[in-house]
Symmetry: C2
Subunit: 117 residues, 2 copies
DNA sequence: GTATTAGTTGAGCAATCATTCAACAATGAT
DNA sequence: ATCATTGTTGAATGATTGCTCAACTAATAC
């Protein structure tokens, strides 16, 4: 996702490009942003996130709810954990997951808004 | 993204699973939602969307801004178009793209919020 | 100690995806 | 008409990714 420094055409609206260019942040931050949204970009993960909006749940509960293996769920939870989208607490053998903060719900809601408009 | 109807463990908290299960929407809608967020899940596309937040631009402008080929940009714009995230108008040979509605900005902003917290 | 259950992890595989390349359509200039 | 330029599109390819499988850790019960 990085290739040539120049495009294959002339710049048509130099003024516009310059102005927009100044308002952009770093490529690294866009990649971070994309990595965040990538986590919302999978059916299983959005189901997990939406489910956790209602209640904290353990891995088995989520697996049962979605009809998946513990392994599959755990892999996805790890990704969500690394991005600080979910947090967890351990109680004996059981690990309970819940949403890390309100941003998750807000992002999901904006997405639903767009779909349902 | 669909496999076995049951998980590989006992349901631990039947009450919770039942309650959460009732608040969930259809799997199809979650997949649609994921497809939407998937479009935000690529560095190039979030750059395009954030750029269009500032000003409408033609394909060449965007290509020049990001150092990509027209083809690459056009492919991404097509995906964004199909999801109603951007709209366009033609003027002679030039096609100008802009954001379709305010949801795009709102979603991007929520994402930045999460990153920068 | 052993056995059981909840959960994690790494490798492997099939599917998805972003870019490149080459060919094409569409408009305007000559 | 031909040429130049903007933009689109389909196929191909390399990279990413989600799930499975098997092996593993952690905590509890016996």
């Amino acid at each position: 996702m990085e290739k040539q420094p120049f495009c294959d055409c002339e710049v048509i609206h130099g003024e516009v490009v310059k102005k927009v260019s100044e308002s952009m942040t770093s490529k690294e931050e866009y990649i971070e942003l994309a990595s965040l949204f990538k986590l919302f970009g999978d059916g299983t993960r959005v189901q997990i996130l939406h489910a956790l909006e209602q209640s904290e749940m353990c891995v088995c509960d989520i697996a049962a709810l979605l009809g998946l293996t513990k392994s599959a769920v755990s892999h996805q939870l790890k990704a969500l954990r690394l991005a600080n989208l979910v947090k967890f607490r351990r109680e004996a053998q059981t690990v309970y997951y819940s949403l890390a903060d309100s941003h998750v719900k807000e992002i999901l809601d904006k997405g639903f808004e767009h779909l349902r408009e």
